[in-house]
């Protein structure tokens, strides 16, 4: 056991020395201020047209969406989406709760919600995609396997190191986001109530389960869901990294899968069996926010099961291939 952890230690130090994790932190540190600034500009512009009273703004958003419902040019799925939006906004307004109370915490919630399916998985790819393939590219895999250790233990130590960094990436995304956006919007907002538990029946919103959740609790749940997505994406990328020889190919394969997921989620509502693809199920945070799933019949339980199944299969393939394959180069 002690042997195993020293192998994990070896892998962790390799990842740190390769500066992959610093790149992730650097990207976050550059991107978050850009988005914060854009959001601040937007907020200032809105203040110009609605004054300081958010209630007027929310009411206008409700009316504007109601008007778009009567337009024939708006597709039916969008109408369902808007009907749900109207009911949720109405609920916030009736309860005198600002759905977008400005602040570092709210910004973090929104930012992570928007980056859960693409941006954060991308950060995880930075580390996961070259974990095995880079050893092969560099030729160091021979040395790794020449040691008197079972192959599966070698792979497991890499996998453990990856999972450690998945947690670190998700946590540091939150931390950097909060620290940086706080400079723009202030650091308050942990206790603002957020409504969760909107149960959707078609275009109707069932309000019997709605709870006012303090924002810190919301962030905790959101982070957990993002983490789960990150672990699954990490495991899949890990498998690709075992299967594919070059790191570049490994990243491209995963990128293509992730991007096709976000495209499919926008247009696959007619092709219902697409819901068994992992990339359509990455938007777990949407369930928390009470937004409709991209394909009818998808629930949190369904998505978790689909993701878990894909993750399990990819772990199995990773180990099966890695332990059997001949290493020639």
């Amino acid at each position: 056991m002690k042997r195993f952890w020293s192998m994990v230690q070896n892998e962790v130090v390799k990842i740190v020395k390769k500066k992959r994790f610093y790149i992730v932190l650097l990207i976050l540190a550059v991107m978050v201020p850009v988005f914060s600034y854009a959001q601040m500009k937007q907020a200032l512009e809105r203040r110009d047209s609605y004054g300081s009273d958010w209630r007027l703004e929310v009411q206008q958003a409700i009316i504007d969406n109601q008007n778009s419902l009567s337009s024939d040019r708006v597709p039916q799925e969008w109408k369902v989406y808007r009907q749900i939006y109207i009911q949720q906004m109405q609920y916030y307004l009736d309860n005198d709760v600002n759905p977008n109370e400005p602040g570092g915490v709210t910004f973090t919630r929104e930012f992570i919600n928007n980056s859960a399916t693409l941006f954060i998985p991308l950060m995880i790819l930075t580390i996961a995609s070259d974990l095995v393939s880079s050893e092969r590219t560099a030729g160091t895999i021979k040395m790794l396997l020449a040691r008197p250790v079972r192959r599966w233990k070698v792979l497991l130590s890499k996998l453990t190191a990856l999972l450690m960094f998945v947690s670190l990436i998700v946590a540091s995304a939150y931390l950097i986001c909060y620290l940086v956006s706080g400079l723009f919007f202030g650091y308050a907002g942990w206790k603002i109530p957020i409504f969760t538990g909107f149960v959707l029946n078609g275009s109707d919103v069932d309000l019997t389960y709605v709870q006012a959740t303090p924002q810190w609790k919301y962030l905790l749940m959101q982070a957990g869901l993002v983490w789960f997505v990150g672990v699954v994406v990490g495991l899949l990328a890990f498998m690709v990294s075992v299967l594919v020889r070059s790191t570049a190919a490994s990243i491209v394969v995963m990128m293509a899968a992730l991007i096709s997921g976000s495209i499919l989620a926008n247009m696959a509502s007619a092709w219902t069996s697409a819901k068994y693809l992992f990339m359509v199920n990455l938007g777990l945070t949407e369930y928390l926010a009470g937004n409709p799933a991209p394909i009818e019949g998808m629930t949190l339980g369904f998505s978790l099961a689909v993701l878990a199944a894909w993750a399990a299969v990819s772990v199995f393939i990773s180990f099966a291939v890695f332990t059997k394959r001949d290493v020639l180069t």
Binding site: V12, V13, R55, D94, D96, S167, L168, Y209, M221, G224
Partner: protein
């Protein structure tokens, strides 16, 4: 070798803490979402929603304008999207020293008096109306003409009998709308925009349209003169001589020039 140890120890410690926290969050979130607990709150009782208890912010002297009602209030047909509501605000802003704030345009396409009465129960709408001191109301045309759709699909405009049947009920509901607005906001000035006949240049439709609308405007005017701090702004004559010049392509809603003329009327009535 020492720096390796240090890297490993911090990474492992931080990662273990993060993993624990995230796993707890995941478990909690999954539980909350998959097994939600009913909140036991009666959601239909919008009458005692927390927003209704918020008293309006008392502001300094100045116009605080809200438009409410149908597509005319919304400004449908105006290529600039302003409608008479924002045009009124702009004219007032240019013409007076007082500060002019346009709060909300609550107009919804196809709104009838009956729907509006229902909408007025919404706490959000009531809140906005309480904030205003000038309420611009346009309603009734959809009760009488069903949104002009009858004309577009080639069917006959409402025949005399149907108009006679619809009109008294709609006029009664207009009275209820005005009462409700007054009870929501006891002090605001309410300006009702009278109806015009969009079919003035179609000979077969003009006569019965004119008759119905004159009757409606007369009843509305009588009702409004009973009320306190209410005005009816007549628009019938604006579209009588040359409707084509002031109506938009749908031949029902005003165009930009038509809305501008309505806005001028409203402002004249206020000064």
């Amino acid at each position: 070798m020492n720096s390796w140890k240090w890297i490993w120890r911090t990474t492992a410690a931080l990662s273990a803490a993060a993993t624990l926290l995230l796993a707890v969050g995941f478990g909690y979130g999954a539980k909350e979402l998959m097994f939600p607990q009913p909140n036991g709150v009666n959601t239909d009782a919008s009458a005692d929603a927390p927003l209704t208890r918020r008293s309006p912010s008392v502001e300094e002297d100045g116009y605080r304008i809200v438009a409410i009602g149908d597509s005319l209030a919304k400004g449908t047909g105006d290529t600039t999207g302003q409608g008479f509501a924002r045009r009124t605000a702009a004219l007032l802003d240019n013409g007076t020293e007082r500060e002019v704030r346009f709060l909300n345009n609550l107009g919804i396409n196809g709104m009838t008096t009956r729907q509006l009465l229902g909408e007025l129960d919404e706490p959000g709408l009531r809140y906005v109306l309480k904030e205003a001191n000038l309420i611009l109301l346009s309603i009734g045309a959809n009760d009488l003409f069903q949104g002009g759709a009858a004309l577009q699909i080639g069917a006959a405009a409402p025949d005399t009998a149907a108009l006679d049947r619809v009109l008294p009920e709609a006029a009664k509901r207009l009275g209820e709308v005005l009462d409700e607005l007054r009870s929501i906001n006891p002090s605001a000035r309410i300006v009702y925009v009278g109806l015009y006949n969009p079919f003035g240049d179609i000979d077969t439709l003009r006569e019965q349209g004119d008759r119905g609308i004159t009757e409606w405007n007369a009843q509305a005017s009588a009702r409004i003169s009973e009320g306190d701090n209410m005005t009816l702004v007549p628009t019938f004559d604006l579209f009588q001589r040359n409707p084509a010049a002031y109506l938009s392509f749908d031949h029902f809603h005003p165009n930009s020039a038509g809305y501008e003329r309505i806005a001028e009327r409203i402002v004249q009535g206020l000064e």
